[in-house]
């Protein structure tokens, strides 16, 4: 897991979503630091700003949207996440 720790990882999630929970748990269990934004908990201009970020990464605007450096994984797909982590 060592190389993963140097990557910039952002998770765009919903606080209510079980696939998002699985994703958070995956990174937590792996000891990989991530920046998590629960979009459903945001309001107003802050939500708009974050949704602009999500839209650029994943035009479908579905959750979780996972950004690992310049790679984007949509949905909790462990195999794709591991690949993006370079494992």
């Amino acid at each position: 897991m060592a190389p993963s720790k140097n990557k910039k990882i952002k998770l765009y999630t919903l606080s209510t979503c079980s696939h998002c929970l699985k994703t958070k748990k995956f990174f937590n269990d792996a000891g990989i630091e991530v920046d998590i934004t629960d979009v459903d908990l945001l309001t107003g201009a802050e939500r708009e700003r974050i949704m602009d970020e999500v839209r650029k990464l994943n035009p479908d605007c579905t959750f979780p949207t996972i950004c690992i450096d310049d790679k984007v994984v949509v949905g909790f797909n462990e195999e794709r996440i591991r690949k993006a982590l370079g494992e």
Binding site: L14, T16, C17, S18, D40, M51, C61, F63, N77
Partner: protein
């Protein structure tokens, strides 16, 4: 109501329709907690895996069970959230794959 209390109700509901809840009980309880959070937040059980508009008129298609559940189960064996599944999905007789979002883009909160 708690997720644990809702579980047997929805389990019976699913079976009455010839489908099932996902056999992963802990995963289902997470979904049910999300559903109940949305019920408190919006006044209706909006899909916990989708960003809601927060008004029932705009979210009526994603009030659980959503209108996409049955076509998704027919095509993939599970709904978008993997809450409701076919018996075959639970038995591992069909591949478990990520269900693509069927909700039309123009209806989504983007």
């Amino acid at each position: 109501m708690t997720a644990e209390e809702l579980y047997p109700i929805l389990s019976r509901f699913a079976e009455s329709q010839g489908i099932r809840l996902n056999k992963d009980r802990e995963f289902v309880l997470d979904i049910l907690r999300g559903l109940l959070t949305n019920e408190l937040r919006y006044g209706y059980r909006s899909c916990p895996c989708r960003l809601a508009w927060g008004t029932k008129d705009k979210d009526k298609d994603i009030v659980c069970p959503c209108v996409y559940r049955d076509p998704d189960i027919k095509e993939y064996g599970s709904c978008y959230c993997e809450l409701y599944v076919s018996p075959e999905w639970n038995e591992g007789k069909i591949e478990h794959r990520q269900v693509p979002e069927r909700r039309p883009k123009e209806k989504r909160k983007m």
